[in-house]
């Protein structure tokens, strides 16, 4: 009994920071309709800034003042980000905003590294609250009790602000109808900035308040991200009580999980989430999200046509060059091009979902890594030959995609995006925690191609055939009746349904198909590297693919391929810089704001301008 209560108390204490961060995210979303993917980064900043203040300010007063100051400083950093990065993209399609916030993640990661260095910091303990108290014989840290007592005050202050002040009234009004609030004379720009300040300050507070329990490290941003998403999805986007209840639920569950199911603590919260979503698709306290206001606006889309004569010639010529490459190139070049080709297939499969299906999947690494792990596990445990493994890998990845897709497709818009990311994290956590089977952090090694394909040149040809074949298949599917049905489902679900297209069905099949294609890429990847580690399933990997598709241009079919080649090629070079994330982050933000058509799209526009290519509407 004592242990039970102690665990509940630990869970409640852990819920404190989670609640603050999640309510900040929820608040920002409510008003600005932007899912701030960089929210974990503000949490991380809160921890670092709080740590630094605690080094200077002495005593109990200094400790608590540091936490408040951390909130304030992070809030101000939030204002800077809002003004520089988000203001220019408020009117842009959702995807652009999400990508812009990734850019912010990368920039903050490297700036944190720059300022505080790579070492983890152990959080200082709260003066006056260092000891433990025995409750029914079980030790409970005093600081935990302080947190439990503190959280209701934060929640109350927030509630008071939202329901009782003019600012709160304006915030709630703007959540419903921003334009009307503006027409009544309220400067929304500052309202947005204010909300962003508050949301980021809450994240910063959360980061600082957990210091004595968790310290500060550079992985905090991604680590908390899926937990906040899960909390917000379970609680209901935009609901403060929802955020609190869900934070408590998840935290308590985690504490019990550590004791009774140590292998699957991370998986547990996803299971709860899925159960909640099946019964309440918009969370415990959430309401149906009004879609559409923000959908895929922007320029009307060009009709995507099968490649013309000249385009075909160029592609054929490129393939011809690639076929001849082994004669002139050394093995370094061959390996590099193999990597690029694999990555291109991965990116193209995401592009298929995103560009054609309008399905903003944020967890595509699950299928790439899933295929890779499927192949690696088959080889390790069943001695499966490469040929069979390369067939089974896409099947496994496709099946995973269909299972995940089945749940995710119940939702749309940002919920969908957050869910796909959460599922990818689920897979990652399974692989990471189930070390006996998957090798955990040590990965799986010694997975080599069959003898006949083990030469660099042969494997190069094999990869080319599969990757180019996969990309052609994706392209071909885009122009098939299935591709048209998928696009129809993206553009207008109702219209598509009325012409007899079962949209959810079509989207699920597309999800499975894209997953399988990513699985081929993953399978090839394992055999080309000879090993696989959990980081191929990480959020960062999914982001790589998204960024590539984005940089390449969402609306151009060549987008995934061009972007993939550009990034993978540049990465080899760019990662030699210590602060390459900073550069990449700035580049992404720059592209979002200045060249929102991506590389391929922008090149095309330039080409049209100087008359090199014919405009589609004249052709």
């Amino acid at each position: 009994m004592g242990l039970f209560i102690a665990q509940i108390l630990t869970g409640l204490a852990n819920a404190s920071a989670l609640f603050m961060v999640a309510s900040g995210l929820s608040l920002i979303f409510g008003v600005t309709r932007i899912v701030n993917f960089a929210h974990g980064s503000f949490y991380m900043l809160g921890a670092y800034v709080g740590y630094s203040f605690m080094q200077i300010l002495p005593g109990a007063f200094g400790f608590w003042a540091s936490i408040l100051l951390a909130g304030l400083v992070v809030g101000i950093i939030g204002i800077i980000v809002e003004i520089l990065v988000l203001r220019p993209v408020y009117k842009a399609p959702e995807l652009f905003q999400l990508v812009a916030t990734f850019g912010v993640i990368l920039v903050i990661q490297d700036l944190t590294l720059l300022v505080w260095g790579a070492d983890d910091f152990l959080g200082p303990r709260a003066p006056g609250l260092k000891g433990i108290i025995r409750i029914m014989g079980e030790p409970v840290p005093k600081y935990d009790l302080a947190l439990i007592a503190l959280t209701p005050f934060v929640a109350f202050a927030l509630w008071w602000l939202i329901t009782k002040t003019r600012t709160g009234i304006l915030v709630r009004a703007a959540t419903q109808d921003r334009e009307m609030v503006g027409a009544l004379g309220v400067n929304q720009a500052w309202l947005f900035t204010g909300v962003f300040f508050l949301g980021c300050a809450l994240a910063g507070l959360g980061g600082a308040v957990q210091l004595p329990k968790g310290g500060a490290d550079l992985l905090m941003d991604f680590n908390i991200l899926s937990a906040i998403f899960v909390v917000v999805v379970i609680g209901g986007m935009g609901s403060l009580p929802g955020a609190y209840v869900a934070a408590v639920l998840i935290s308590v569950l985690n504490v019990f999980g550590v004791n009774y199911l140590p292998q699957s603590t991370l998986a547990l919260m996803f299971v709860v989430m899925v159960v909640v979503l099946i019964f309440r698709p918009f969370g415990l306290f959430g309401r149906e999200e009004v879609a559409g206001e923000h959908g895929q606006v922007g320029e009307p889309e060009r009709p995507i046509k099968p490649a013309g004569q000249s385009a075909r010639m160029i592609v054929m010529f490129g393939l011809f060059l690639m076929a001849l490459l082994p004669i002139v190139g050394d093995s370094f070049i061959l390996v590099l091009i193999t990597d690029i080709a694999i990555f291109c297939l991965f990116a193209a499969s995401l592009h298929f979902l995103l560009g054609l299906g309008g399905l903003v999947s944020f967890g595509h690494a699950a299928y790439f890594g899933g295929g890779a792990y499927a192949a690696a596990l088959l080889v390790t445990y069943a001695g499966t030959p490469m040929e069979l493994a390369l067939i089974l890998a896409p099947l496994a990845a496709g099946l995973t995609a269909i299972i995940f897709g089945w749940v995710c497709l119940r939702l749309t818009g940002v919920y969908f995006a957050m869910l796909t990311l959460a599922f990818a994290q689920l897979l990652w956590s399974l692989v990471f925690q189930w070390g006996d089977f998957t090798g955990g952090d040590d990965g799986l090694v010694d997975i080599w191609p069959s003898d006949w394909a083990s030469g660099t040149t042969t494997f190069y040809y094999l990869s080319m055939v599969l990757c180019v074949g996969g990309i052609i298949l994706l392209r071909h599917t885009a122009h098939s009746p299935f591709g048209y049905a998928l696009r129809a489902a993206r553009d207008s679900q109702r219209q598509a349904e009325s012409t007899g297209i079962h949209t959810k069905h079509v989207q699920l099949v597309a999800f499975g198909f894209a997953g399988a294609m990513a699985g081929i890429a993953g399978g090839l990847f394992v055999f080309s590297k000879g090993s696989i580690f959990p980081n191929e399933l990480e959020i960062a990997r999914s982001f790589d693919a998204l960024i590539v598709v984005f940089l390449g241009g969402v609306k151009t079919l060549a987008g995934g391929v061009v972007g993939g080649a550009a990034l993978e090629g540049a990465k080899d070079y760019i990662t030699r810089f210590e602060y390459w994330r900073l550069l990449l982050g700035l580049l992404i933000i720059f592209v979002v704001i200045v060249a929102p058509d991506g590389i391929a799209g922008t090149l095309r526009k330039w080409a049209e301008k100087i008359g090199f290519m014919k405009r589609e509407d004249q052709a």
């Binding site: 503006g182 027409a183 009544l184 004379g185």
Partner: protein
């Protein structure tokens, strides 16, 4: 007081307002008449800069407001009551009024909640009810009251008589005349000619996004053929 000169407004590629021009003088009630889809709402939005005209100009109290941010237009003393009402359904009546609150302004009545509750007694009883709990007529009253909280000197009313019970339409007409006696200038859009006849001093008839006729109400009444050409009665 309000001069609209040759504005052209678009939704994407659809050209909706074509060289539309007319003036509204201080203290008048002007009715913008026209069929469904004639461009009345677009005119209102183009004045508020919720739709930004691509050419032409809108001048309010001698200041050009074209391309100004809508909240700045509102701050200059233009009050907008949209056709779809757009009250904040999750907010109470009092909170809805709070959103509209702006500082007092010279040359315009300064409204407060009590004055508005005098004018709209129904709302007084419902001050703690949420917007979604109000009837259509009450919602219409609330949108007007909310806009008045901003102490406008000119108020844009988009189809105030649409979709409400006949008794309330009469009350609405009284409200508009009351606003006029308080010194407000009113530009309203209407399809209901009888309603316009009851309140308006002047009329502007729009058709396909241009002003096809302008004159006093009395002149229009004396020219039934114009009425028959442009208005479906």
């Amino acid at each position: 007081m309000l001069e609209i000169k040759g504005i052209n407004s678009f939704y994407g590629k659809a050209h909706v307002l074509r060289d539309l021009s007319f003036d509204v003088e201080r203290g008048q009630v002007v009715a913008l008449l026209g069929r469904n889809g004639a461009g009345k709402t677009t005119t209102m939005k183009s004045v508020m800069q919720l739709v930004v005209p691509e050419s032409g100009s809108v001048t309010f109290q001698g200041v050009e407001i074209t391309r100004m941010a809508p909240h700045k237009v509102a701050k200059m003393g233009l009050g907008y009551v949209p056709e779809e009402r757009r009250i904040f359904t999750d907010l109470t009546v009092m909170e809805n009024l709070e959103v509209g609150r702006q500082p007092a302004r010279a040359q315009a009545v300064t409204w407060n909640e009590d004055m508005l509750f005098d004018m709209f007694p129904n709302l007084a009883e419902r001050r703690t009810n949420r917007g979604k709990e109000l009837s259509g007529g009450e919602q219409q009253m609330l949108t007007i009251a909310r806009t008045l909280m901003g102490n406008p000197s000119l108020i844009l009313l988009d189809e105030p008589s649409e979709g409400i019970a006949p008794v309330i339409v009469e009350e609405m007409a009284r409200v508009i005349l009351k606003l006029k006696t308080e010194g407000l200038t009113v530009l309203l859009s209407e399809q209901n000619l009888h309603f316009a006849q009851a309140v308006a001093d002047r009329v502007v008839i729009v058709e396909s996004g241009s002003a096809k006729y302008q004159g006093t109400m009395a002149e229009l009444n004396a020219n039934p053929e114009i009425r028959d050409t442009y208005l479906s009665v």
